[in-house]
Symmetry: C2
Subunit: 390 residues, 2 copies
């Protein structure tokens, strides 16, 4: 061991070290650059490297050496070993996002927003698609263990997932069931669109659903609609409970309105069936179908046409969420735009605030009515149906 080999780094990252497949599988990892390599190159101790790169060198390392350390780190292409750091600090800089299902465009966008701001702060996001509480709430053949194994969500416990030592959790209220399964110990937990009084949550981020509903019902009643059926998502979830309450409340203040409510499972077909029921049931036919999301609304539009009626001339249909779907169908859906990406961002910010110990009362995000072609004055329009600005 010659003493001055200290200044020769083990191999700058200009790759292709030659031997292609000679890696004996017993070795821990490829020959990565460690903080000690950086220390040698910069002529300081490993501790100094840690201090400088951790930006904790206020009065501990001279500016000159700090500069040298940073230069050496960049030169060698140093990347800290996250496993070692986590082991040492007990923190992983990774949070879990619990969503009902990712194939829902809405939550894919929530993830996108959350991941973006997380990445900007050096955090990672792993997903836990719970896929519970979603889909039709079957009659649930209670306790018939004979049937095929009702394969539980194949990630039985988020903590069993790899990359799973977590710093915090963001969870949609639609996946709340998964939360009880995961013993969230005392992790900071941000709930999305959930009961603010839910004491499991460290913070809650909400969309102003009630206001969106008010805009929507205002739009319908201004057009002259008085017989309105609410196709309510058949999912036990705070956000849908709020929608139902807000619909009832807003319409109860308008004289002459007759509100009905029908449950509808999620999905185009379910929306179609529910709308069929609504349109063919007893009593006068509703002139507007207020659907709990755009997908149900798409199904409702199909039902209307199958009965030989037209949207919006005979029946107006409204959605919720403003998914890409909303402008793919014809007529384009009048809907309430939910800022999904912003929602994910806000959730992540609230979680980061909690992680930093900052008590940050999370905001309620505004939503916006988007009036399109699926709504119009009803055929039996009373005189108070006036298109504004027409």
């Amino acid at each position: 061991m010659t003493s001055n080999e200290a200044t020769t780094p083990p191999g700058a990252r200009t790759g292709s070290t030659g031997a292609a497949d000679a890696a004996p599988p017993g070795r821990p990892a490829a020959d990565r650059v460690t903080s000690r390599d950086v220390a040698r190159a910069a002529g300081v101790s490993q501790a100094a490297v840690s201090l400088v790169l951790g930006d904790k060198w206020r009065g501990r390392v001279s500016p000159g050496k700090a500069q040298a350390v940073r230069a050496a780190a960049r030169e060698l292409g140093y990347r800290p070993n996250l496993a070692a750091r986590s082991l040492r600090t007990g923190r992983t800089r990774t949070v879990l996002l619990v969503v009902p299902a990712l194939t829902t465009e809405f939550f894919a966008r929530v993830y996108t927003g959350a991941a973006r701001v997380a990445a900007d702060h050096g955090l990672g996001v792993v997903l836990y698609p719970s896929s519970e509480g979603i889909g039709p709430s079957h009659p649930a053949p209670a306790t018939t263990p004979g049937a095929g194994p009702v394969r539980p969500p194949s990630v039985p416990d988020p903590f069993d997932s790899a990359a799973a030592t977590l710093d915090g959790v963001i969870a949609s209220s639609m996946a709340a069931e998964a939360l009880t399964a995961l013993r969230a110990a005392d992790l900071p937990l941000v709930m999305l669109d959930s009961d603010p009084d839910d004491d499991r949550a460290t913070a809650t981020v909400n969309l102003d659903i009630a206001d969106g509903v008010r805009q929507l019902t205002g739009h319908l009643t201004a057009l002259g609609h008085r017989r309105i059926t609410h196709l309510a998502a058949d999912v036990r979830s705070w956000t849908f409970e709020v929608r139902a309450r807000a619909v009832s409340e807003a319409l109860s203040r308008v004289p002459g309105v007759r509100l009905r409510r029908l449950p509808a499972a999620l999905g185009v077909d379910a929306g179609l069936r529910a709308a069929h029921t609504a349109l063919t049931g007893p009593g006068p036919r509703p002139t507007a179908l207020l659907c709990d999301d755009d997908i149900i609304a798409a199904g409702a539009c199909k039902a209307v046409r199958r009965l030989g009626l037209r949207v919006p001339e005979d029946v107006s249909v409204t959605g919720f969420d403003d998914l890409a779907l909303a402008v793919a169908v014809e007529p384009e859906l009048t809907t309430v735009r939910l800022p999904a990406e912003d929602f994910g961002e806000a959730g992540m910010r609230a979680l980061m605030a909690a992680l930093d110990g900052r008590p940050d009362r999370a905001p309620t995000l505004p939503v916006e009515l988007v009036a399109r072609g699926s709504t119009a004055p009803p055929a039996d329009a009373p005189e108070n149906a006036a298109r504004p600005g027409g």
Copy 2:
């Protein structure tokens, strides 16, 4: 140190240890159960615990003690510290999935499939939505640095993402650009729907796109269509190149067919515009629009109707992918169903095979034509247009 305190575990996980907020922030983590705790409880050494739980105790630990270890681990609720394990083994049991954008339903489903099989094998999946190569290929005002900072994908480098010491990578060919950015070193790399000769990939998993195209063109020509315009996705990607080639080849074998091709950016609006161009251009109007995905097809349907024409009586429209959208629009789209979840699963399996050193030539997955209402014989139907079974 009394010697027999060895049998007292530090605190069975029946929580609420009392002091609510007394955690000094300097401490690494909450008082978790370690393998040493399990060892004490079972009356063995920590090494024995590691052997038993790692299932490497064949001739090293007696069955009785192994049983005791497992019992103690379960009793205490032991969960191995993944950071420590990774540090020791150099492996993270985490793979990266590089997709163009998650809001695409298709890739959300690919993720779902990949994550499911990964979870079944104790692996984790982190996402890298590259969001490059997607969207309209703008004229790209080359090198105009004056404009606003064209914010690069805010995850500049997948390896900078937390949870980022990776064991392998699965990447869609649509996100291939991101791959060059990530110096994938010598990580196993599985490419999805990519050129099998791409030498960057350890393995390649493909969908049998060409066969799907043959089914689709066969369907159209059997209906009697001879003037067909291919609305080709304006994205430089292997999978779309294959589609274009397969369309040309399949239709070149049918006498009398006149194929045109128009580029279309992704999205409903872009599809609408492209279809408008196709339908109003010079020469006889095409009787069928073969679109590279369902979303373009939805736009195309809108274009047809805006010109006062009907789908499918005047113009047939086909999609690709069979997204949820396909049955939300009217008429429902004839399309080629791509098994997205299976695709993700197959990719993950191929990667796991590579990780285990098993040379596993990855399969090509079959696809399936789904004929629905958006296709019909053309109005100027020649005699060879016969509905089968009609």
